[in-house]
């Protein structure tokens, strides 16, 4: 109930706000309409569906798909920041720990952008200032040239001390995966520490996070298996703290010779029913599996969203749905731009 600063959580106020926001999210019908539109029409459609301010603000600098992508991310960042600003006490602690993933996302975008030689404007387009780092801090990071300076500045801003072995491995191979992997592991570790199982809603939040870890781990194992990596090297990338995929099952999955073998190992866990069609060896693509797992994640969020109205649950539920909406809009727009078949695009949407 109380946060570290001794302030009480304002569940009623924040939950009412997110429920009002949730009522404005796009419905299934909206996606069906958008699937029939051109990218320009999609831009106009979302301008009238809650993205007006961001679309107008960015319209003089960008156009087309760039405008749409930048505006959707900017909108999501504004919405998440407003939720964080509205929360107090223990609720603030949990929301802020959950939103840390956007700080990590932003660091990954900046480092990847720099390594591919993107200019500052190109990097800015994919930034989502929804975490603890605001636009000013991110701008400072983007302006830095050397990776070492970026990591040091990020560490100072977010109080993260990158271990020397991670930095050494990153420098030795210029492999961003080392940093990204460390950030992901630290994020989930921190989140599970902050979301203490003191009451039923917090327990459900914790449970959701642990299932998310399972999904991420399974995705990592499958991707590495497709690249021919298996056994012990895979375990290095497995995030501890999963609910159903513990270290024993993870090492069994990692040791499996093929994707099909890994799939038969995973048949006993919760999300198997949701992804078994996608895991059909004849049709399986990693994209379909990931999409199946995302649908499972959304289904889990929907299941508990209405259970505890005065808790962190409605807030978490809204953040998951908002992020999903933005991803769906971007998928539809990219699909329309690249001329993909509507059924293929529809299959990629998580509704």
């Amino acid at each position: 109930m109380f946060g570290r600063k001794g302030k009480a959580s304002n569940y009623a106020y924040t939950a009412a706000r997110v429920k009002a926001k949730k009522a404005h999210l796009l419905a299934e019908d909206d996606y069906s309409k958008m699937l029939m539109m051109t990218p320009q029409e999609i831009s106009r459609y979302i301008s009238e569906a809650g993205y007006t301010k961001e679309m107008t603000d960015l319209a003089n600098r960008e156009s087309g798909l760039d405008l749409l992508e930048h505006a959707t991310y900017a909108n999501m960042a504004n919405v998440f920041s407003s939720i964080l600003l509205a929360s107090t006490g223990g609720l603030y602690d949990m929301v802020s720990a959950y939103l840390t993933k956007w700080d990590n996302w932003n660091l990954k975008v900046i480092l990847r952008g720099k390594s591919y030689g993107l200019d500052a404007e190109g990097i800015r387009e994919d930034l989502v200032p929804a975490g603890s780092l605001g636009a000013e801090s991110l701008e400072k990071l983007v302006s830095l040239e050397a990776d070492d300076d970026i990591l040091a500045a990020f560490g100072r801003m977010t109080h993260i001390n990158f271990p020397q072995d991670v930095l050494a491995a990153y420098k030795a191979r210029s492999n961003l995966a080392e940093i990204e992997d460390y950030l992901d592991k630290r994020y989930y570790e921190h989140l599970l520490t902050v979301v203490r199982p003191t009451d039923r809603p917090s327990l459900m939040f914790r449970d959701y996070v642990m299932k998310e870890i399972d999904i991420k781990n399974f995705e990592t194992i499958l991707k590495l298996k497709l690249d021919g990596v298996r056994g012990e090297p895979v375990m290095k990338y497995v995030i501890p703290g999963g609910k159903q995929i513990d270290s024993k099952l993870a090492s069994q999955l990692a040791a499996a010779d093929t994707v099909e073998e890994a799939v038969s190992e995973v048949a006993q866990i919760g999300f198997y029913e949701d992804i078994k069609d996608a895991l059909d060896p004849k049709a399986a693509t990693i994209r379909e599996v990931v999409s199946g797992m995302k649908k499972y994640e959304m289904h889990q969020a929907k299941k508990f969203s209405h259970l505890y109205p005065l808790s962190v649950i409605p807030v978490l539920d809204y953040m998951i749905h908002k992020e999903n909406e933005v991803n769906n809009i971007r998928t539809v727009a990219r699909g329309a731009e690249s001329g993909l078949d509507r059924d293929v695009v529809k299959g990629l949407l998580v509704i």
Binding site: N10, A12, Y13, T14, A15, A16, R17, K19, A20, K21, A86, L310
Partner: protein
């Protein structure tokens, strides 16, 4: 002497009726008002409806007040 004692007890009972009812409705209104302010922040057009829900727990105090008046004038 006994009459004065009885009047005093009635006064204490009336005070408790209003006071406890006030505390109860205050607790109820706390969350209702916070939620209403949150909803109005997102959509100012619902001010009227939200206000009704905020003052609904207030009716409990009226029950307490009625009991207090009855204690004074009926008993």
């Amino acid at each position: 002497m006994a009459e004065a004692e009885a009047t005093g007890l009635i006064a204490i009972g009336a005070g408790l009726a209003v006071g406890l009812a006030g505390i109860g409705s205050g607790l109820g209104e706390k969350d209702a008002a916070a939620a209403a302010i949150g909803a109005i922040t997102e959509d100012p057009s619902i001010f009227g409806k939200a206000m009704i829900f905020v003052v609904l727990p207030e009716t409990i105090v009226i029950f307490g007040l009625v009991i207090a008046i009855m204690a004074f004038f009926v008993l």
